[in-house]
Symmetry: C2
Subunit: 491 residues, 2 copies
């Protein structure tokens, strides 16, 4: 950790990349745009999965698994869907390699060309609704509440680790319902699950809203979203929940026999979050000293570093350290005793600081004499000497305090970076010079949205769910508007 | 569950398929050879994952994630490896679809042809060792103990649900070590982890052994395996652990600086089990009444079915059922109270029986009067009236007894179906008329192995680890042999 890394001010984008690489979260692979998620990064993702998976199950969902490949023709069945995904998909055309004629290379075997090309799933609505057709006969078979943890591929041209990669990991929920009301309720339930997760585990405040038609999921009737603000005052979409109406039921002919004996199309939702959340986690909280992980998602919540000059001291310190470790494990605190003899304490301090461990304990012979421990919290970098007695409970409270402080800091930041704009000049000024969320009036047309995007790079992030009606004039066209929407430059 | 399904005697293969489909475990999808794992089937896989993942972590491994795609040229770097996998892989050639000229179809866009084709991973040694090159500088960076949960694709021509599908789910461990001894020890450690899991969770006895050169993993120096016997007396390979020597380190130039300052190639292992284990689970224990799941892997261990004629009775029964349910949940028993009012008790009985739930409780008004519960165990189909008092503890013991009984039954079956053969005639007779494991002498050559396979379809399943030296003559060539190996027809 002796290297000097970029600060946010110097180069925000480099700062982000430095953290991803040097905190051992992920790296690019030999395959264009595809990343390797390293063990430490993956262990954070596992924490996220664990929490989300429980929330999905607690709301009545089960996991299942659908094929990686989707027949090309399936995409053509839902017009908007194909429009949204055909331009960025990996196409499988052959199922065998053979030696080239000169024997030096491998080539796709033309005798093993697929009759119909297969697409590596960019999302699974089509293959899943093709499957649901056979699962649904009557209203008794509904609802279907299924989630899938999977890898998906969207051939992005410009990639960034976690934020935008050709392959990424995600979960995609796909539910089927007898009525529109029930499907809409499911859409909102899952939006609330995501909100709860991002705010109370990731410690990032979000705004709930719906997407403008331009930003809607390809095939959805309505896309609900949660939007978060990063430290460079750009917005990041942290999760989406789609009300799909009967679009996919119609495309794949999925009908059910209702209680009053009528054949009706089924109503659908889909919802997902991805490894992109790792990017949000990093950007929301980290500082110029490296990664900062909220305690509730930290694979290592507490690290204990021994300070010693000889074996006798090491043994004395280790005895206490191991006792604390045991106590903390019994209280479900994820604790690591870093007893490596290959590294000095200073190195360990900066390594764990850079890797974002929320709380660090240092114990040396003098601490033992005083019956104290040096406790450092990662969020504020403050250090304090704690009495050894009852240390586990105190650290438990400290972890809670770090968690809530991170949320409050992010909320304060968002509040400071939330603006309103009433004229086009004001809007451009805010977007170009301040960034952040901008509440402004919009005439409701796709043309205006597009024009604003082209001139400022700001897009409509959300039509907030909790907005108040307010008469006003569109900042761009001056036409009447009934509500403010939220603009921002976004990831 | 009113339908009549095939029995094992009538049609073993149909019996297997019926269970997979009708117990809601999996089904074929619209994509050739690819399956959909349904929620109930997936929940069993999740139990397997949970147990295995903990065992991997307890033995020091971390999870990570590597790309789905592998550059074609990587396969060419390890000669045996390409030979083993090139003939059955999905090849990605394009990264975009476009409308066909008549506008009616989608076609792969020739302007978006990849410079180098990508292979959908059939296994990840190549991409992982390409990554490890950058992770390893000195002996301090070793060992690397990493596992990945992932989907892989091998283009099988004849597929069977769970047993052989084009896409399947698995875990693949890939470790890197400074010494040969350490890598060999890791190989055996993981073989023991698999053995422990299959025997003590899946309740299937296995034989540990190494593979003959013909059956070895493409790229391995030595393949260790565990072999199980199914109810049709065919063998099934339940897991493999490969000692890869320095083959992949040499192919991808992965060297480390040793303690005495020498550049040395790194030693490797890889090991994996897959959704194929679902097939083993089904075939090892199920009977003509359907699936039988060992309690330690059952997503539902106990189902409670209420017997009632009116609402008053339903309420009385439900009160007790819910109390039992709560008690059992507190004891970590996975219990379901099936209070559906759309189905009769008889239907529920056969449904849960067919789905393999280990223990069923039935409670009616008369039971309440007698303070008893009717308890049925799935393995023996025996029913018994239990006193209500202390029911949770009794059921807990019953679950343990079902678990050990299933193992014992499978072990007895294997013992009854394990034979020795000393002559070619005897060998053919056993293989053709009895099946099972056949211990026989073999001259150690690939030619003989191949000839035996062609004449009898039996292959060498394993050179058992615990075998005794025994002088003898090869059943096929009469040449001298020092040990018996195990032959069987296999899945």
């Amino acid at each position: 950790m002796a290297k000097k890394f970029a600060t946010r001010k110097e180069n925000y984008s480099q700062w982000y990349n430095d953290i991803v690489i040097n905190a051992d979260l992920a790296e690019y692979s030999a395959v264009r745009g595809c990343m390797v998620i390293k063990p430490y990064g993956y262990s954070i993702w596992e924490e996220m999965q664990r929490v989300l998976d429980k929330k999905f199950k607690d709301t009545g969902h089960s996991n299942a698994y659908f094929p990686l490949f989707i027949p090309k023709s399936f995409f053509n069945k839902e017009a908007d869907h194909v429009e949204g995904f055909a331009k960025e998909c990996a196409v499988v055309t052959h199922y065998r390699l053979k030696e080239s004629e000169d024997g030096k290379d491998l080539v796709a075997d033309e005798n093993a060309r697929l009759e119909e090309e297969l697409i590596v799933r960019p999302t699974s609505e089509t293959i899943i609704w093709d499957t649901y057709r056979n699962w649904v006969q009557s209203y008794r078979d509904l609802p279907i509440l299924v989630n899938q943890w999977a890898n998906v591929v969207r051939w992005e041209m410009r990639t960034r680790l976690f934020l935008r990669t050709a392959e990424f990991l995600w979960q995609e929920g796909h539910t089927a319902h007898a009525t529109k009301e029930e499907a809409l309720e499911e859409t909102k339930t899952m939006l609330n699950v995501y909100t709860d997760f991002v705010e109370n585990w990731m410690a990032i405040p979000v705004i709930q809203g719906t997407k403008s038609p331009n930003e809607r999921f390809a095939g959805a009737v309505e896309t609900y979203c949660i939007e978060a603000l990063m430290q460079d005052a750009r917005a990041l979409q942290a999760g989406t929940s789609h009300f799909l109406g009967q679009n996919f039921a119609k495309a794949f002919d999925v009908k059910y026999l209702s209680k009053d004996n009528k054949r009706e199309y089924v109503w659908a939702t889909s919802w997902g979050v991805s490894t992109r959340l790792m990017g949000a986690l990093i950007m929301a909280h980290s500082d110029d000293n490296g990664l900062v992980i909220p305690p509730k998602l930290a694979p290592i919540q507490v690290v204990i570093v021994p300070i010693y000059k000889n074996e006798e001291q090491f043994n004395r310190v280790s005895e206490v350290a191991n006792r604390i470790k045991k106590e903390m494990q019994d209280q479900d605190i994820a604790v690591k005793y870093d007893n490596r003899d290959t590294q000095k304490p200073g190195f360990k301090f900066s390594e764990w600081e850079y890797k974002g461990v929320p709380v660090r304990l240092a114990i040396g012979p003098r601490d033992l004499d005083n019956q104290t421990v040096e406790v450092a919290r990662r969020d504020t970098l403050e250090k304090e000497a704690y009495q050894l007695a009852d240390i586990t409970n105190k650290v438990k409270h400290l972890l809670e305090s770090v968690q809530s402080n991170l949320y409050q800091k992010a909320l304060d930041f968002r509040n400071e970076n939330t603006h309103t704009a009433d004229t086009w000049e004001e809007f451009k000024d805010v977007v170009n010079n301040k960034g952040g969320f901008v509440y402004a009036h919009w005439d409701g047309t796709a043309e205006t949205e597009q024009a604003i995007k082209e001139e400022t790079k700001a897009t409509i992030r959300a039509l907030p769910l909790d907005d108040k009606k307010e008469e006003g004039k569109c900042i761009y066209t001056g036409k009447p508007s009934e509500r403010r929407v939220i603009f921002a430059k976004a990831y």
